[in-house]
Each structure stands twice: as structure tokens, then as C-alpha cells.
């Protein structure tokens, strides 16, 4: 069964450093998403991406964040200058041909900012 994969599973970084979180969505999916889950809190939507551009983003997704689909298989989330409060589990998701298709989630990347 196809699945969303994410690397790395755990990333530790120093405050102020840039990090790139990587995702490989399900191969025939067209919509891609990032969510985050701060420990003990809800899973929160960050951004959705379709046709090589952002289609929707939350107020959390400020100028420190960017997303990219650098090739036909990867989908990345970049945080330019990490802050302590960026420590969270980051989930990538993908869905099929229409925006309301079911979103399938990856296993997550745990980001720890020291």
C-alpha cells in the first residue's frame, strides 16, 4: 500500500539555524500539506500546496516558513531561522485529485530546537 514518507524522523537544531524537513507524498497525489503538533496540543494545519504554489496557509505559516516541490517526488518544509517554539512534530500529508480527497499522513518528523 502506498504511503507518505518523511525524513528525518528526528531533527535536533540550534535556535536560529535553518532546517529542511522532507516528505515524499504518495506518487499520484496532487495536493500536499504540512501540519504540526506541539507536544500536548492539537494537530494544526500549516499550509497546502497544489500545482506548484501555496493554495491555503494558516496564520502560523509566516515568513519564516516556506515550502517547495523541488522535483517530481519530494515536498519540503523549510524553517529559515528556528525558534524554541518551533519544536514540534511536523506531519506531511497528501491527497488525490480534488482538495477534499482524504489526506494521508506521514509518520512525522520530530523537530527539537535547543
Amino acid at each position: 500500500e502506498p504511503e507518505v514518507t518523511q525524513t528525518p524522523s528526528h531533527q535536533v537544531t540550534q535556535m536560529g539555524q535553518e532546517v529542511i524537513l522532507r516528505c515524499v507524498p504518495i506518487s499520484n497525489h496532487l495536493y500536499f500539506y504540512w501540519y504540526r503538533q506541539i507536544l500536548g496540543q492539537k494537530v494544526e494545519f500549516l499550509v497546502s500546496f497544489y500545482n506548484n504554489e501555496i493554495s491555503e496557509k494558516s496564520e502560523i505559516f509566516d515568513d519564516q516558513f516556506s515550502v517547495e516541490r523541488p522535483d517530481g517526488s519530494n515536498f519540503t518544509l523549510k524553517i529559515r531561522s528556528t525558534k524554541l517554539e518551533d519544536s514540534a512534530m511536523y506531519f506531511c500529508a497528501s491527497s488525490g485529485g480534488v482538495p477534499t480527497d482524504t489526506q494521508y499522513f506521514g509518520p512525522g518528523t520530530r523537530l527539537t530546537v535547543l
Binding site: 518523511q6 492539537k42 494537530v43 497546502s48 491555503e56 506531519f91 477534499t100
Partner: protein
């Protein structure tokens, strides 16, 4: 504002007992509804979804959920819980035409022998 509420943060049940996890939503129109499960150290796995039609939906691992429009609820049920069901369960919703999935806070299920 659109929201999903899971009133129970923790639930403990005995193995073999029945289970019901509550979920209420607040949306202008009926959203699409989902239940996801997250085992420790794992990602979010889709258990089942409701888009329209039959209000009782069947999912994987023996779970089912019932949509009740009058109560704005989408409760998850299982007739007999197994120890492997211990996990965190998230109710989620998305409005038609939008992409942002809104999650509830999650219900952590503990199963005791």
C-alpha cells in the same frame, strides 16, 4: 469559528469492553468527518471517514462511527477493545471546497487487562 471538540482527554477501558469516543463539530454546513489514530511514535492513520450517505460508517480494525446531524456528533465505537487499540484518537473535519483539516485535541485510550 469552525471547531472540533473531543470532550474526553483520557479514557481507560478493560480489554474486551465496548468503547465509544465522542466528537462534536461546529461548522456552518456539515463538514467531511474523519477519525485518525496515532500509536506512540507513529503517524496518523485513517480509521474511517464520512462524506455523505449512510450515517453509520465502517472503518478498519473493527471501528465504526455514527454521524448524527441533530447532535453535530461523529462518535467512534468499537464493540470489543483489544490491548493493541491503546493509542491516541483524533476526530477531524474539513469543509467542502477547503483543504485545511481541523483536528480535535485527541483522546488517549488506555486498555487495561
Amino acid at each position: 469559528a469552525q471547531s472540533v471538540t473531543q470532550p474526553d482527554i483520557h479514557i481507560t477501558v478493560s480489554e474486551g469492553a465496548s468503547l465509544e469516543l465522542r466528537c462534536n463539530y461546529s461548522y456552518g454546513a456539515t463538514p467531511y468527518l474523519f477519525w485518525y489514530v496515532q500509536s506512540p511514535g507513529q503517524g496518523l492513520q485513517l480509521l474511517l471517514k464520512y462524506f455523505s450517505g449512510d450515517t453509520l460508517v465502517q472503518g478498519i480494525k473493527g471501528f465504526e462511527a455514527e454521524f448524527k446531524r441533530s447532535q453535530s456528533s461523529f462518535n467512534l465505537r468499537k464493540p470489543s477493545v483489544h490491548w493493541s487499540d491503546a493509542a491516541e484518537y483524533f476526530c477531524a473535519a474539513v469543509s467542502g471546497g477547503y483543504q485545511k483539516v481541523t483536528f480535535g485535541i485527541g483522546t488517549k485510550l488506555q486498555v487495561i487487562p
